[in-house]
């Protein structure tokens, strides 16, 4: 992994339970490992 220093984007996102939140809610309390998957299947 490469070092980075950019500010993370902070869009409104939808969770799998249908809830909509600001992405920043996910890194407020702990470091966040955000894993973008390739397609399912």
């Amino acid at each position: 992994m490469e070092k980075d220093h950019r500010s993370a984007p902070d869009p409104i996102v939808t969770l799998s339970d249908g809830a909509e939140i600001r992405l920043s809610r996910l890194w407020q309390d702990n470091p966040l490992v955000l894993v973008f998957l390739r397609h399912f299947g």
């Binding site: 992994m1 869009p11 799998s16 890194w27 470091p31 894993v35 973008f36 390739r38 399912f40 299947g41």
Partner: protein, 130 residues
């Protein structure tokens, strides 16, 4: 995915929150997490807006023809990963970002091909460095 799942306890011990981003709808993502016993939260991004916000690119149209991608596909099938109906854009490349509590991306990995994912050990090492 299997490697990440097996490493969940280590991520918990490192104090990190692991969240997946996928191109399915909430219904598709819920089905996927149930079928594969995924222990992580999931962000649903069927329009790939979050992928684009993080500058994750798509593979070139002929990228699937590269020998390395084809070989990885064959190896995955040999391990029992079947080919189903894809959900999401098959050209979308994955990636991993570690974001600290101030909202700074401290580490990033932009995949060169769909199977190019950092191992959990590599992610954990990067977490230990922040």
């Amino acid at each position: 995915m299997a490697q990440l799942r097996r490493a969940k306890t280590r991520f918990d011990q490192a104090g990190a929150r692991v969240v997946l981003v996928a191109m399915g709808t909430p219904a598709e993502s819920s089905a996927f997490t149930r079928e594969h016993a995924v222990p992580f939260e999931m962000v649903c991004d069927p329009e790939r807006k979050v992928y684009q916000a993080f500058d994750l690119e798509q593979m070139a149209p002929l990228g699937f023809l590269s020998p390395s991608v084809a070989l990885k596909g064959v190896m995955a099938m040999a391990k029992g990963h079947g080919i189903g109906v894809p959900v999401g854009d098959v050209r979308q490349l994955p990636g991993v970002f570690i974001i600290d509590s101030k909202g700074t991306i401290v580490f990033s990995h932009f995949a060169a091909d769909p199977a190019d994912n950092p191992a959990p050990d590599e992610i954990l090492a990067a977490l230990a460095a922040i």
